[in-house]
Symmetry: C2
Subunit: 461 residues, 2 copies
């Protein structure tokens, strides 16, 4: 690679928003995936769609790898510049362009923090529901790349359900919109939905039009301790079968909760010795009386399972405390040990079977796991803990265990990633989720958008 020539071009275009020395680039060599580091040659921070267009056209011409990056909070390695080249940081695309109250839509740049966007539309009484655990730091553009979910997905759907239209820069530098700012669209192939969840491998998203809904005015939150983790999983489907759709239904194994307590040094919640798992259940809506009725119905369902005393959050602070505990499980596990996080998803009723197989395979291969996640969606985050396992075993034997686990997931009607994406770390398992015919279709679609394979190379396939 002719680094001097490229440096000249990029610097000429965007001045000191082109970083090219190793020290500056170091900061951009990782996301939140395990302990992986890949140094880009350039970090570029464009501010306009035109700049991105010129960068892409140049990189296309010179076959320079380009890895788009948001807040780099991803968990599958999507923002890692594994082939070097350009790390295209979208951090300067941080403006909400228009909150369209008349049509319940928002037009935003991709570098806006998800929670900032949520708070801004909430001020107008509007709601953008999808919010991953990292909502305080992740970018909305990253959410679109990974088709993020989060705890509200169980009632309100995932990112893809809110994306109406996207402005893109193609790997060849052309700028297009994928659709229109409308709620229904039967005009040609759905390019919008093809881009959502494509992990920055097909195009660079530069503007986003999202659907909004009226913000619910009330919610109730309860934490339910179970003596048996399997039974907690079984209770999940039972709640839905009773006709209730909670706005959150989270599962936490004992370790998930106690490790987080240790990590945050907050022991205000009493976890008894015989608590094997907890469900965190939220209902929301516009009518507090209706929510009380929903909670009563849920408690009626829970009576059929053995639970300890249910904790109702009574204040906003208490609610926030419980949600914060849940949101910090990932960080807490990360602080304890080297680990791998799997993001399995199955039909909701198969959750107890999935948990059974996790623990069975853990016993057979000798690993400890900490499980938690969006149980209402059948989406279980499985943290495989390295602990004192020797490196040889960790590096070489674990793949076989994962293959067995993912095989069970697919047999249960599920798949290998619910909301984290495939990126780099799940790539070796794609053949379990899809036959070669399907993978070939995907590879060819990739080639349609990116004939030279310069955009986020080495991901998904």
């Amino acid at each position: 690679m002719d680094l001097n020539k490229h440096t000249l071009f990029f610097t000429d275009l965007i001045g000191n928003r082109c970083l090219s020395n190793e020290v500056d680039c170091k900061e951009y060599d990782h996301d939140e995936t395990e302990d992986l580091h890949f140094l880009p040659q350039f970090v570029l921070k464009p501010e306009t769609v035109n700049e991105i267009s010129l960068i892409m056209a140049y990189c296309h011409e010179h076959a320079i790898p380009v890895t788009p990056a948001g807040a780099r909070t991803g968990l599958s390695g999507g923002a890692l510049a594994i082939k070097g080249g350009v790390l295209l940081s979208m951090e300067r695309f941080n403006k909400i362009l228009q909150i369209d109250e008349k049509n319940h839509q928002v037009i935003t740049e991709p570098g806006v923090i998800t929670q900032v966007l949520q708070d801004a539309v909430k001020e107008k009484g509007l709601f953008y529901p999808p919010d991953p655990a990292s909502k305080g730091s992740c970018f909305i553009g990253g959410n679109i790349s990974e088709n993020s979910g989060g705890p509200k997905a169980v009632k309100y759907g995932v990112t893809k359900d809110y994306v109406l239209n996207l402005e893109l820069v193609l790997p060849t530098g052309e700028i297009i919109w994928t659709g229109a700012n409308v709620l229904k669209n039967a005009t040609g192939y759905n390019l919008t939905q093809l881009i959502v969840g494509s992990e920055g491998t097909l195009a660079v998203v530069t503007k986003i039009v999202l659907k909004l809904i009226p913000h619910p005015t009330h919610d109730l939150l309860m934490l339910v301790p179970f003596y048996d983790a399997q039974k907690a999983c079984e209770a999940v489907a039972a709640i839905f079968q009773a006709g209730i759709t909670p706005s959150g239904l989270e599962f936490m194994e004992r370790d998930a909760l106690t490790w987080t307590q240790a990590f945050t040094n907050d022991f205000s919640l009493h976890v008894a010795d015989n608590h094997a798992a907890h469900l965190l259940i939220e209902v929301d809506g516009f009518d507090p009386d209706q929510l009380m009725l929903d909670c009563e119905k849920i408690m009626g369902v829970l009576e059929k399972f053995e639970t300890d005393e249910i904790l109702f959050a009574e204040t906003a602070a208490q609610k926030q405390g419980l949600w914060s505990l849940r949101r910090k499980v990932g960080e807490a596990v990360k602080s304890q040990s080297i680990y791998k996080e799997e993001d399995t998803v199955v039909p909701r009723f198969a959750l107890p079977d999935l948990l059974f197989h996790v623990k069975r395979i853990g016993k057979e291969f000798g690993f400890h796991s900490v499980c938690y996640g969006h149980a209402g969606d059948g989406n279980l985050h499985i943290n495989i803990i390295k602990g004192d396992m020797d490196d040889e075993k960790w590096n070489n034997e674990l793949t076989a265990a994962m293959r067995e686990l993912f095989g069970e997931v697919v047999k249960l009607g599920g798949t290998i990633s619910g909301e984290h994406g495939i990126g780099l770390v799940q790539k070796p398992y794609m053949d379990i989720a899809f036959p070669e015919v399907s993978l070939n279709l995907m590879r060819q679609i990739k080639t349609v958008f990116d004939p030279k394979g310069i955009l986020n190379p080495g991901k998904i396939f």
Copy 2:
């Protein structure tokens, strides 16, 4: 085309479920689009996915056009065998395979009538919301091809929002599933969503997994007469801005209603001389008191507009009567005159502007139009009436009027089809909705799936 050889192959494979004489094939030469007729050489009625796989492999080898057809109720010509060859009728794929109450899912074949599917899941307390006006005759597979909407879309979303997983036969004969039976999926490109709305040009859908939701237990319906059609359109956005999400919000111009009364010979509803348009507004949910409050809120909003007395449907029969009137508008218009139906969609708040342009362009080009549709979605069906316009003008000058109209639609942030698809009749206007770069992406995606271009050729592009 070597007809004898092909007849032999098809008959050998599926016996008398292969029709090849002109009289038999005649029945399959049209759908519900205008007065268009195209005769296929063969009508094949496979019963198994394996038969379809063998048919596609054979047709691929011999470059025989294949046009998949459902109930042929489509309005854009998607099921017309415009290049002759095989009309692949999915009418034998008429079984609901499994209603999975435990996971709130249904697995169905594509040839099931939408209403049959709705009724079957309703018996289990479950709800599949998307239902086009033709729900009593259209197939769920056709709904997937066109990404159908219908009146409930305004609250519950369109077909794409319920499709979890699809079994496909590719044009080359391979059989794949697009995804998994899960509520969230971040595993590779979203092939499921690429197929939904692709109008049978990418693959033949052979099994469908749909998400279901709890069926609402109560609804209220009101019909609101306006003296000014523009004001009716303005009221639509105002209702949403008041924080209400109706489960139906339909607009009917005066002619839409009176022509339907004449068509059905049912004049039980009094339409006064000064009624210019009506809104049909439904709210649904689980709590009747809440619905009454919603209605009161809606009436509060309507007070700001000049309306005549609001009719509340008091019995199930009355509700059904009003909905039936609305559903029959299309047929009624068709019975009156040769016509063209446009399926424009704009952001909801732009609806009055859209109606203004329809009437303005109508005046300039000298055509009468009857407008109605899913106003809550900004989706206006515009029926251009031929009436006594001479053929020369109808055939040659109307295209310019349509191009002007669609140009306005796109300027308003909308697009040329909300739920009917592009098919054959909207194909000439695709360049208004998309630049050549986007159309090229779509054409190349088509080639990825269908390298010889045998599947539903001549549609969309």
